[in-house]
């Protein structure tokens, strides 16, 4: 007798979760003949083999390697997630304060926009005001596209440039949950001019020397405009990440398919 129900009874018994009624039923089935007893033994063998495998100590170097890597990241990106982390920490696990959290995020974004509008950013930062609304059709010449696919999110970045040395990066992200997107550029070669976002969803953006960081959920569209400083046009990198995975790509100012926008 090898039916599925019998196997489930044996599994529950060997797992230690069988109820008294299941135990009685199993005993009755086992008394029926040799076949159920043989099947019981087969399943027990699998359990026995699995239980003979012992837990293994992790290599001593694992802990040190992780902590060194974490230290290094904390040093190079000390503010990463800090502001949002502080806000979240303030509201912790209290769902009732979700509205407060949303308000706080909005206030932070508003404060940032005000700071930008008042020219509080230096040359390496954003000098023009953040704008919201529909993206205007791109001007100038199409340069390059990058498509990224991470677990739980995908993004497309497009680069355009004009004769005045303005390089526009248009980024569109679609995610099933929270995501982060970064556009990284050489601050010696590009100076931020403006950032335009479409359909603001209360997410957070952070433009600093050489990098724009966006934290949001769902979909997001934005355009970052940079002014090329000097004749050098190094590639820009675009990164997206979710809690499940990440993907990275580059936008090349002079790619092989220069000036031919893919259809």
């Amino acid at each position: 007798m090898r039916d599925d129900e019998f196997d489930r009874l044996v599994n529950d018994e060997l797992d230690g979760v069988a109820t008294p009624a299941q135990k009685a039923e199993l005993a009755r089935r086992l008394a029926e003949g040799e076949a159920p007893r043989a099947r019981y033994q087969e399943i027990q063998t699998v359990f026995g083999m699995l239980d003979r495998i012992e837990s293994v100590d992790p290599p001593p170097s694992l802990r040190g390697n992780v902590l060194r890597a974490v230290e290094s990241r904390a040093r190079t990106r000390p503010e990463r997630g800090g502001l949002r982390g502080l806000i979240q920490a303030g509201f912790g696990k209290r769902p009732g304060l979700g509205l407060g959290y949303a308000f706080a995020v909005g206030a932070v974004v508003g404060a940032l926009a005000l700071a930008i509008g008042n020219g509080l950013f230096d040359r390496a930062g954003l000098r023009g005001p953040e704008m919201q609304g529909a993206l205007l059709p791109p001007t100038g010449s199409y340069v390059d596209t990058v498509h990224l696919a991470a677990k739980g999110a995908q993004a497309t970045g497009e680069m355009w440039t004009d004769s005045n040395g303005i390089v526009s990066v248009r980024l569109e992200v679609q995610s099933v949950g929270p995501f982060e997107a970064h556009i990284t550029f050489n601050p010696e070669a590009y100076a931020p001019v403006s950032l335009r976002r479409v359909e603001p969803s209360g997410g957070r953006f952070d433009l600093r020397r050489g990098e724009l960081q966006v934290e949001d959920r769902g979909s997001a569209r934005l355009e970052l405009r940079l002014r090329a400083v000097g004749s050098s046009r190094p590639p820009l990198s675009v990164w997206i990440g979710t809690s499940l995975g990440s993907a990275e790509g580059r936008l090349l100012p002079f790619p092989p398919n220069w000036n031919q926008r893919p259809r």
Binding site: R8, M49, I53, D57, V66, R73, G81, G241, L244
Partner: protein
């Protein structure tokens, strides 16, 4: 580490105290190393996978939803790292060949059992491999597995049942019918 201690460590990390991550590493490195080891069946690869998973967890800690168990979240990251690692390894070609068949009366030493089970586990899908690992190597209860995997206990039991059945068949194919 209690849930409260865990949340406190997360908050300290988010405030920039990277040292607080030590307590998280100390709590989970053994479990995650064993998970990764049984997932990828190679000690050095398992170390790489777990290191990478911890670093990703640290970097993405601000996206962690605190209504979930921290272990669930880090376990998920580790499993995804394992999957990425296995996909890369597959592209590079198979690492180990199947174990040769054995007679039913061969007595298997612990080391051999580990080798045979390790190879058979690789033939299970990631969901089935996951439940076997959490139940038999990490020794979680059905309820704990339900919380980690974020599926009902009933699903846990059903997956376990199927996973063991498939594993038994794989072992039988390898000539192991009794230990």
């Amino acid at each position: 580490m209690s849930d409260d201690e865990e949340q406190a460590a997360v908050e300290r990390c988010l405030r920039g105290e990277s040292r607080a991550f030590e307590t998280i590493v100390d709590s989970y490195q053994r479990v995650l190393y064993n998970v990764a080891l049984r997932m990828v069946n190679d000690r050095e690869d398992a170390q790489d996978v777990v290191q990478s998973a911890f670093v990703k967890a640290y970097e993405k800690l601000h996206t962690y939803d605190r209504r979930r168990k921290l272990f669930s979240w880090i376990y998920r990251i580790t499993v995804n790292e394992c999957l990425d690692h296995l996909a890369r390894r597959k592209r590079q070609g198979p690492m180990d060949e199947d174990e040769p068949g054995r007679g039913p009366d061969d007595a298997l030493e612990a080391r051999e059992v580990e080798t045979v089970i390790g190879a058979a586990l690789l033939d299970l899908s990631i969901d089935y491999r996951g439940v076997i690992i959490l139940r038999h190597f990490v020794h979680l209860s059905h309820r704990e597995m339900s919380r980690v995997l974020e599926v009902p206990e009933k699903t846990v039991k059903s997956r376990l049942h199927t996973a063991r059945k498939l594993l038994g068949e794989l072992l039988a194919k390898r000539g192991v019918s009794r230990a």
